[in-house]
Amino acid sequence: MEAESVYQYLIDRQEFRLLEEKDLYYVFLPVPEYWDIRVDGYNGAVTDMGEKKAIIYFKAPSEKRYVQRVEWITTTGTVYKIDYYGKYGYAYCTEYLNSDGSSRMKEYYTSQRKLVASKNSSNGVITLFEQGHVAAMYDSESVLIKEVSEETDGDICI
């Protein structure tokens, strides 16, 4: 079992509706009203009054312009977070970065943006959430995977 499928399992447990598999076409990325989305070389860009706020990277094949990830940048170009988009067309994972580009933490969300899990990049600790509150903690991803595998009888696969 791979880690991403475990997180998807944890997300699914807290989804209260069936989601349609549908990639997100980049123009319809949710942004504040009047912000623009445009082509930027091989990628897309989110702009506000001409100022670049984020870079959109596409899934393969890139000509379909489906969103794979969005890298949000400061005014000086530092990427501070990356939103990852899955097959359901919403940002199921947000990765927060240090100024040097290294990872601080990853958070996993339902389609309603409810926090489900958090992975601390510095020490590997996984925290699970329910209704916004801590539900469980694991010292590492492997401990979490083992427990989920046992819980599902290894029924989850990618």
């Binding site: 949710p30 501070y80 601080r104 933490m105 925290t127 509150h133 801590v134 903690m137």
Partner: protein, 512 residues
């Protein structure tokens, strides 16, 4: 109509300014305005308690970050018993240890969580989560619901690992994440909203100031350094709200007068640059008022209305029926270089040659504490010079005959004020500003000849210490004079009683 006081400080030891804010809160409550004290950083529960104990009601405190979620009620009703049961089940807790107001929760002897309880121990305000026996991962802060969570990563500095706060998530009353604050993004805070909007702290304060909807009926009191994030937004977008700036420090320092500033105090640059946009400047002494006028003229800047209203006042005159400890001196201050407590110590050691019973008690703490203790140790003076630590000193002064200060600058000097209110004879330097108001040479004590140039001149420092020692001997050698000094201190203190200061504050606020 409201008064907004910017700001209450988070993350520092309380000092004179915080005390002054607490004292003044009683005066402002008597004006026709409602008063809100703004935290520009989220306070901990302990900081709420500190300001509450200084006199500011919790209902008067407003945290900007929480205000923007609509979920800002600090008064909580989350029961410890409910949460404890929940955590025991979730985290498989099999041992609970009670330490004061803290409950520590263990799973197989590993610390996994702690609950911080309020004084009554029935309600909680914080839950922290740990892994690997004590490494902090996450902290939840509660009011009447979850207010915000702090997220930590393991970081390293100087070879030591520590829990570094990287993100705070703020929630509305329904538990929805409204926005996050990310820390140390190129060294700065970044406020990030789920829809992609992001703001520097200053830009974010522009949103906050807009939300306050300030009008010409409102008054904004600014009394922290002008480089704080909310200052430009307040001046640029604060509408016609009256802007009052309060000087709690010097605006200009000669070399050596202040350990952090030389010449123009950078904490107040903005007040000078935009003096024409300020409705009222408040200072504690006439001398500083005149100095500010002179400095504004020197830079060809507009002189706004300037009023003298002492930053603090005395609750009462503290007379004592007990005998004061004979030949006793006390000094109260943060133990930092600018207070020159080393000069006080050396002068007492010198004076003791003339007054063998002389003692000195030093109240306060600071980064110079260990160096000062070492100085006392070098002179084998521990028997008569005592370090009393940091504590409530309001009832302490009246046990002593005299107060001594080596401070080379005081905006007003709340400690000296409290000393004269307790009838201490006072010895201090003839330094700007407060000493010249609170010490009348030859009437309630002695002002030692002093110029800021002296600080860098070792010969003059020796002479000042020697002069202080001579004054100590003189004051304690004439019982009649000592009693006269003490009585005159009480007379000066009458001018600073709360009711008089209160009237000045109310008059000046109502005049805007």
């Amino acid at each position: 109509m409201a008064i907004y006081v910017f700001n209450l400080l988070v993350g520092y030891y309380t000092g004179g300014l915080d005390t002054a804010q607490g004292v003044r809160s009683r005066y402002l409550r008597k004006t026709k305005h409602t008063v809100k004290y703004i935290f520009d950083t989220v306070p901990t529960y302990r900081e709420l308690l500190v300001y509450h104990n200084l006199g500011i009601c919790v209902e008067e405190m407003l945290c900007a970050q929480l205000f923007m979620t609509g979920n800002y009620n600090f008064a909580g009703n989350i029961k410890v018993s409910d949460k404890l049961q929940e955590l025991v089940e979730k985290l498989q807790v099999n041992k609970t240890v009670e330490i004061g107001n803290s409950l520590r929760l263990y799973h197989e002897n590993q610390l996994v969580a702690s609950i911080e309880r309020k004084e009554n121990k029935e309600f909680l305000y914080q839950i922290s989560y740990y892994h690997n026996n004590g490494k902090l991962i996450l902290t939840e802060w509660y009011g009447d619901s979850l207010l915000y969570t702090d997220h930590f990563v393991t970081a390293e500095k100087d070879g030591k690992k520590y829990a570094k706060k990287v993100k705070t998530s703020f929630f509305d009353k329904k538990g929805t994440n409204v926005y996050d604050c990310l820390y140390d993004i190129n060294g700065e805070e970044l406020y990030v909203y789920p829809d992609g909007q992001s703001y520097s702290k200053t830009q974010w304060f522009y949103k906050f100031i807009q939300t306050l909807k300030l009008s010409e009926d409102d008054i904004v009191i600014l009394e922290r350094p002008s480089f704080n994030s909310y200052v430009q937004p307040l001046f640029q977008y604060g509408g016609k709200a009256k802007k009052v700036v309060v000087f709690h420090s010097g605006h200009y320092f000669e070399r050596g007068e202040d350990t952090g500033s030389l010449y123009m105090n950078r904490e107040y640059y903005y007040w000078f640059k935009y003096s024409e946009k300020i409705d009222l400047m408040i200072v504690s002494t006439e001398e500083q008022k005149e100095d500010i006028r002179t400095k504004l003229l020197e830079f060809s800047k507009e002189i706004p209305r300037i009023e003298v209203v002492p930053a603090g006042g005395l609750a009462d005159i503290k007379r004592t029926k007990e005998f004061r400890k004979p030949r006793s001196l006390v000094t109260v201050s943060r133990l930092v270089p600018g207070k020159k407590v080393d000069w006080v110590i050396e002068s007492v050691i010198e004076a003791r040659k003339g007054i063998p019973e002389l003692t000195l008690d030093i109240y306060g703490e600071g980064k110079a504490t260990s160096a000062l203790k070492e100085l006392v140790h070098q002179y084998n003076a521990e028997e008569y010079i005592h370090f009393m630590g940091h504590c409530d000193v309001s009832e302490v002064y009246k046990n002593y005959e005299g107060y001594i200060s080596g401070s080379v600058f005081e905006t007003l000097g709340l400690s000296v004020m409290e000393a004269i209110g307790s009838g201490n004879a006072v010895i201090g330097l003839d330094a700007r500003y407060g000493n010249r108001v609170l010490i009348e040479d030859g009437k309630n004590g002695r002002l030692i000849k002093f110029s800021p140039d002296d600080i860098q001149n070792p010969q003059r420092v020796k002479e000042i210490i020697s002069d202080m020692a001579k004054c100590i001997v003189e004051v304690f050698s004439d019982e009649e004079m000592l009693l006269a000094y003490q009585e005159h201190s009480y007379q000066i203190a009458e001018r600073f009683l709360n009711d008089k200061i209160e009237k000045k504050w109310i008059d000046v606020i109502e005049s805007l």
